[in-house]
């Protein structure tokens, strides 16, 4: 199999990795294309007989991180539309799946990527570690934490940010009522 044949063969897996990182289909397509361009430009640095899959996944990951750094100079990662995993309408009908999609988008990118590569691609922890340039223990830990966090959220535990948002909303509502009644709300801020 030539270098270019290997690039074509790994494209479906790169798409999954890209979607797990970007959380957005259009951004994932762009990321795959950019990673392929980087790989073609760097093909002389690939040593035949070594792990092509890991090499390619690392290029995509590095490109994602590099793009993220550039974007952070002007905007925020949360500006990327989240929960775009399940775009087909038939999937969105499934509420549990929609919840899972939302919960996934709240995970840190490295945990989401690790979970997806192990569960969807059947990657071993060793292969995951090589593909994401980390220790095997770190790879295992990312998958473990992702599973645990998703299970907690799917069982009804709100993410920390949501709890905080709800507290702020409750406080604002209470202050609005006080103001409407012409009372001071200062003590609410001290409680």
């Amino acid at each position: 199999m030539t270098f270019h044949d290997q690039v074509i063969a790994i494209l479906p897996k790169l798409r999954i990795q890209a979607l797990s990182l970007t959380r957005n289909r259009a951004a994932a397509e762009d990321l795959v294309q950019d990673a392929v361009c980087n790989a073609l430009a760097a093909q002389n640095s690939f040593i035949p007989g070594t792990n092509f899959s890991a090499w390619m996944h690392r290029i995509l990951r590095n490109r994602f991180i590099s793009d993220l750094r550039k974007r952070r100079e002007t905007t925020d990662i949360d500006d990327v539309p989240a929960s775009s995993f399940a775009s087909p309408a038939t999937h969105e009908d499934n509420l549990a799946l929609k919840d899972l999609s939302m919960a996934l988008s709240r995970l840190p990118a490295d945990q989401r990527e690790a979970l997806v590569m192990v569960v969807i691609q059947g990657m071993s922890y060793e292969a995951l570690a090589e593909a994401t340039d980390c220790a095997v223990g770190t790879a295992k830990s990312r998958v473990f934490r992702a599973r645990r966090q998703l299970e907690a959220w799917m069982n009804g535990d709100l993410p920390v940010n949501d709890r905080l948002r709800m507290k702020v909303k409750a406080l604002r509502d209470a202050m609005d009522i006080r103001h409407r009644d012409g009372q001071s709300a200062h003590d609410l801020l001290l409680s």
């Binding site: 073609l40 549990a96 899972l100 997806v116 969807i120 830990s141």
Partner: protein, 57 residues
């Protein structure tokens, strides 16, 4: 092995069991529903052309 290592090893072992738990099975099914379509979509012509052009250089 330090206490920290022991905790980590234990967490890793649990991770293996979790895969086969009811939630683990449900999660696997859900992830496949979310991601399998993406993997099976046709590769954009533009991307294939880019690779072929590089091959023929």
């Amino acid at each position: 092995m330090t206490a920290g290592d022991k905790r980590k090893a234990s967490a890793d072992d649990d991770g293996g069991d979790e895969k086969d738990s009811p939630f683990g099975i449900w999660l696997s099914r859900g992830l496949h529903q979310l991601f399998d379509d993406v993997a099976n979509e046709p590769i954009p012509e533009e991307l294939l052309r880019l690779i072929e052009e590089d091959r023929n250089k």
